[in-house]
Amino acid sequence: MATVELKDVKKTYAGGVEAVKGVSIDIPDGQMCVLVGPSGCGKSTLLRMVAGLETITAGDVLIDNNVVNRLGPAERDIAMVFQNYALYPHMKVYDNMAYGLRNRGMPRPEIDQRVREAAATLGLAELLERKPRELSGGQRQRVAMGRAIVRSPKAFLFDEPLSNLDAKLRGQMRIEIKAIQRRFGVTSIYVTHDQVEAMTLADILVVMNAGLAEQIGTPLSIYERPATTFVAGFIGSPSMNLMKAVAQGAKGLQLADGGSVVKPRDTELPQGGREVLLGVRPEHFTLVKDGKNADLELSVTAVETLGADTLAHGRPSGSNGSGGEIIARLPGASRIDEGDVLPLAIDPGLAHLFDAASGQRI
């Protein structure tokens, strides 16, 4: 059990590539911090620096308030779960889990007790004598978890651990990982590019982009108040609609592609003439009966029927087509066809405004 703290951590590779450009994160004891971002954003590099597998160019990594920059991975007392599980193929499940403990010189009975406890927790008790190749993907994943648990480390580090599993198993393992992390109360860092994993697992969510932490917060606070257009587009599925617009002061917004004027209620509008991006999540459109209450009229070009929901793709009526497509997530019961013009209201307080140039939230 420990706190993990990153202080302005940077990584520059020998070739001069800056993978991580200064990230500071504070992870309190027992919390799960998820690093999420597109590939190449530096999230894995950051994790590997915490693990000690990658040297730290600048800044400090602190575990339990001790700077661990110069310690090797084994001395940092962390456990890591790898994307491809990295099980030792020639060792039985039991030995895979016991190997790290043996290297520490732990007495045999204690190793045995710990391995059997962890195996029971993870439902691996029957599989201890098998080799990794005789296990399914999910079982291998559990063994990798078990190898981490038996160590009782100060921190768990997960490097995209679920990306090799099929969708159904991934959902199931996600819940298991969360439950195990809660039960053992181990401080964790979890790297993923899957925003569903990020949202569901995180106590602290860090959205990374191009070597920087774009936003750090709880999943809901990030969902509700994305700090930049990047975060707005990355968190949430389908992504938030971002529409170019010009603020018209009290009159509202004029969409840049010539679409109809939109006046998000309960949203404070900036001064006239300023170029902004209006962000509305697909799920924050409501279909209204009366066109007068509509903030936006959507000419539907494509419909995706998902059952519970229906996704309506289209453009604002009057659009000259230069703006992007808009997606609205509507209740499955609303029968929609291509070519319909839908009067949509934006849920009060749920529209976001960003500066068009900087992408920062206004």
Binding site: A51, L53, I78, A86, P89, Y99, G100, N103
Partner: protein, 282 residues
Amino acid sequence: MVENRPFLTFLSHLVLILGLLVVFLPVYIALIASTRGPTEFLSGIVPLLPGDHTIANYRAMLQSGLSTSGAPPLFPMMMNSLIMALAIAIGKIVISIISAYAIVYFRFPFRALAFWAIFVTLMLPVEVRIIPTFEVVANLSMLNSYAGLTIPLIASATATFLFRQFFLTVPEELIEAARVDGAGPIKFFWDILLPLSRTNIAALFVILFIYGWNQYLWPLLITTDTRYYTVVMGIKRMAAYADAEPLWNLVMAAVMLAAIPPVIVIIFMQRLFIKGLVETEK
């Protein structure tokens, strides 16, 4: 996948059977020759059925050898060959796996140079460098010794190269997992890399044992003492008989006996050997 069609099955079996015949016929004739009397091969007609001198021929070879040709009895020569083949096979594997480990996993100055230096020696087989090698061995007084028979043949670029290629396929994550588990370089080598290389080692052992067993030119050059004769060069001495026809029946008996150890090695290591050559699963 090739479809399962009767004609293809027939054709592939035909090719296999023909190939087998081509390979097996000389061996069969040697086997027959070793069971016949001393004069039966001189008539020019090759008999195809076993004769009745089997026990006499083999007993003669094992107990007294062909003393007229200056060769010792077969058994001590086979022991020499065994020592030489084992020393070469084990020595080559030990040295090359360690050097491959250094080249793949450690960053040291001139690492690439070291690799290429080893690699270049691939192009220089024993025969090319045999005069200087002989000079060195002679100056070190290693003529007529097991050390002289084996040490110059132990360095192996081929085996180093094969282990290097194998090590490069071991996933990076495995190395990192071992580091997180607190395994240092020696532990990683011993606990993880070596067990993973098991099948490769077996395959190489088979190949190198046969390589060592079949050495002819080198033992011929550096041994003048019959106590250090190896069986392959011994057979050559038996066949190259001055002023008389070689005793083919006895020579072939020696050939048959000399072929047994490599065959035993292959039979016992066949499973691992094939696995080592084809396995890709890690």
